[in-house]
């Protein structure tokens, strides 16, 4: 039986569909955040949801991230499954006490009596000309805290399956979406599916070098892999999909297979997600490595507003290509 042509959705549509399906499935799921109702967020990700589910379940809040995140923590503890929308990932700084000291710890400190089944959706990614306070990728902050799960989807398919899994999770999950990816299209089956948190995905198989890439960097890695292919280097692209829980097994096995690894993530390189992943790989695949594990992330500077400067602060297909060639001794 030939399959029908796969249905394509944008990243934003996939997110919206995941939310709508979960809200239909479970009346406890609700959305709160700035401009989430009629405006559907500045990125138009949530358009149409308030019309279907009403203002009780798609709740516009005042501009007070700390306030409505705290509201969500309490609502989650007392039976709802809120999905909080933090418009720009830069604003998570305002929610830190609610997330780090309350949401992440309540289950542990109450001996399992209370749960906080909430999701925080927010954004990451530079090169949108939004300047230093609206362009950061701060997901490493949450990865550092026990009790929080951190999801970094890179395709519409992954975004939908992971968001549904995140909403059904009994623990607080922070879900980072790349602002530049919302219009990217990809196949998303109409039928029901979820993707378990903690399962990496090999986006492209290869044999000479592994490019571990998260979120926005997956497309960069795939582009670099195409360039490398033309240079006779076979690159494998592995997407962890969740920074925590981390699928260490898949990362280490890929490193063992190729012996060379570049880890890339759009967060700041220093003390970032790439450091943790590189360390996991160095420890797990040490005797199979033929070169040091290289990391690539955002430069240690405020993201510049100047477009030419902004573009060089984060890895690009070209810089990854050159780094990979050098690592393979072919520069």
């Amino acid at each position: 039986m030939p399959d029908a042509a796969p249905r394509e959705l944008t990243f934003a549509q996939a997110i919206r569909e995941a939310l709508a399906e979960e809200m239909r499935r479970d009346s406890r799921v609700c959305i709160m955040g700035e401009d989430v109702a009629e405006a559907g967020t500045p990125f138009k990700v949530l358009s149409g949801l308030v019309e279907e589910f009403g203002k009780e379940r798609v709740l516009d809040t005042p501009i007070s991230e700390a306030g409505f995140t705290g509201l969500a923590v309490g609502a989650a503890m007392t039976g709802l499954r809120p999905v909080v929308d933090i418009m720009f990932g830069d604003f998570i700084t305002l929610t830190m006490d609610q997330m780090v000291n309350q949401a992440a710890k309540v289950h542990y400190m109450s001996g399992g009596t209370w749960k906080v089944p909430m999701v925080m959706r927010t954004t990451l990614g530079a090169t949108r000309r939004s300047a230093a306070q609206h362009s950061q990728s701060l997901h490493a902050w949450f990865c550092h805290v026990p009790g929080l799960k951190v999801v970094l989807p890179s395709t519409p398919y992954d975004a939908k399956g992971l968001l549904k899994a995140a909403i059904r999770d009994e623990n607080p999950v922070v879900f980072f979406e790349d602002k530049m990816m919302y219009k990217q299209k990809g196949p998303v089956p109409a039928e029901e599916y979820t993707i378990p948190l903690g399962l990496a995905d090999v986006k492209r198989a290869g044999s000479d070098i592994t490019l571990v890439a998260t979120s926005s960097m997956v497309q960069v890695a795939l582009g670099a892999a195409d360039l490398l292919d033309q240079a006779g280097i076979s690159a494998e692209v592995v997407d962890p999909r969740t920074a925590w829980p981390l699928d260490e097994h898949t990362l280490i096995e890929s490193a063992k297979k190729t012996s060379r690894v570049i880890v890339m993530d759009e967060g700041y390189e220093r003390y970032g997600v790439t450091a943790e992943i590189a360390s996991v790989i160095a420890a797990g695949a040490f005797y199979d490595l033929d070169a040091p594990v290289k990391r690539m992330g955002a430069m240690h500077v405020p993201i510049p507003f100047s477009p030419p400067l902004e573009d060089v602060t984060v890895p690009t297909e070209q810089t990854v290509f050159e780094a990979a060639r050098a690592l393979c001794g072919r520069s």
């Binding site: 039928e191 029901e192 599916y193 979820t194 097994h249 096995e253 297979k257 012996s259 040490f286 005797y287 199979d288 490595l289 033929d290 070169a291 050098a326 001794g329 520069s331």
Partner: protein, 391 residues
């Protein structure tokens, strides 16, 4: 008079010893019985004691050096005495590749030339060791002259004795490995085995085959009968259809039977939800669709989710009987062997009957032996009287 300190022979057939560390240093005063140094053999690290009193002098081997047995590596001299002149620098001592950085021992003669070690990648070092390659003879091809895996491979292709590299696993194979390990190591399994006469089951299938095939278009297999019967018996035994939650037993409201199916890289449990309420034709149709999707590698997540009990039939592989591993959080799995003619007592005389063997694996946290036995007994009864359960 000067006493020589020599590399001792600690084992038969030992040719060299590795100097792990000096515990006394050049110029230190030592008393008989003091530990001078540590020596490593294949089996152990041992301490070498001073044979007399004096000053440690003429140290000519450093930590990390591999020294021939019997070679003098230092002297114990009287204050003011000079070590005998014949001690030449230990020409045969060489630095092993795995040598620790030379200990900062104050040596007078600094006998071992500190040959600059070539840089080598961890992978290349491992390969060189596995293949017995002397890396000091290699020129590295790395960007900074580092010895890389390719240099080792070029120097010595893998020998026949090198074990083949394990193939990377597919996700189905990996999941199977992880799940079965988790189950086998954490679920307290116990097993009940029952042999039974399958005459009625075989007969019932023959009788119902054509009607169902005509109306439903699908030919029901023996497995379909087993699923239908087991699902109905399970409704009488909710404990067998339960899950251990970590602190309690949860009885599952639905009876969803998984059928273990072989796929390309392993086995999956394809689920027939609510099998206790489905007729044979429906079960056969669903099983047939699942089999097709499983063979094509197109099972959907929903096809393998929510099972409460598994039936695994290896009869078609001519297996007489086998014991299966439970798929948590299910509480049990029924392993079914082939139907084969056996000589058995019939009315006190030897007769030939089609017999089959069932083996039930149960999670002892969720169910006990007596209850599992009652269930298995009812399953056996149902198999002996299938028409009573499947009108």
């Amino acid at each position: 008079m000067a006493l020589s300190v020599v590399m001792p022979a600690l084992e038969m057939a030992q040719e060299t010893g590795k100097l792990v560390a000096w515990r006394k240093q050049e110029g230190d005063r030592v008393v008989k019985g003091d530990v001078l140094l540590e020596v490593e053999t294949d089996k152990a690290v041992i301490e070498l004691e001073a044979a007399g009193d004096g000053i440690l002098a003429g140290v000519n081997a450093q930590a990390g050096a591999v020294v021939p047995v019997g070679q003098t590596i230092a002297w114990i001299v009287a204050p003011g005495e000079v070590p005998p002149p014949e001690i030449a620098p230990a020409a045969t001592a060489r630095r092993t590749t795995a040598a620790a950085p030379a200990a900062p021992v104050a040596t007078t003669s600094a006998s071992v030339p500190a040959a600059a070690e070539a840089k080598i990648s961890p992978k290349a070092r491992r390969l060189a060791k596995e293949r017995g390659i002397d890396i000091s003879r290699l020129r590295g091809s790395g960007p900074g002259g580092e010895i890389l895996a390719a240099d080792i491979l070029a120097a010595a292709p893998p020998s026949a004795s090198t074990p083949p590299e394990a193939e990377a696993l597919s996700s189905v194979a990996r999941l199977m490995a992880e799940r079965t390990t988790q189950s086998w190591t954490t679920v307290p399994h116990f097993f009940l085995v029952r042999e039974l006469d399958a005459t009625a089951l075989v007969e019932a299938r023959k009788q119902m085959l054509q009607t169902i095939e005509k109306t439903g278009g699908v030919r029901p297999t023996l497995t379909d009968f087993l699923v239908a019967l087991v699902a109905r018996v399970l409704t009488k035994h909710p404990q067998m259809n339960s899950s251990w939650t970590g602190s309690a037993v949860r009885q599952n409201p639905e009876v969803n039977i998984a059928i273990a199916m072989a796929v390309k890289d392993g086995v999956v449990g394809a689920v027939i939800p609510g099998a206790n309420r489905l007729g044979l034709a429906d079960i056969a149709a669903q099983r047939s669709a699942l089999t097709e999707r499983a063979r094509a590698g197109k099972l959907r997540p929903a096809d393998i989710a929510g099972a409460t009990f598994t039936v695994s039939n290896l009869g078609m592989y001519n297996v007489d009987a086998f014991i299966a591993i439970i798929t948590p959080p299910q509480a049990a799995i029924l392993a079914v062997g082939r139907v084969a003619d056996r000589v058995v007592p019939v009315d006190g005389k030897p007769g030939i009957r089609p017999m089959m063997t069932l083996a039930l694996s149960s999670d002892h946290r969720a169910v006990d032996g007596a209850r599992a036995a009652e269930f298995l007994n009812d399953v056996a009864e149902a198999f002996r009287e299938p028409r009573e359960w499947l009108p």
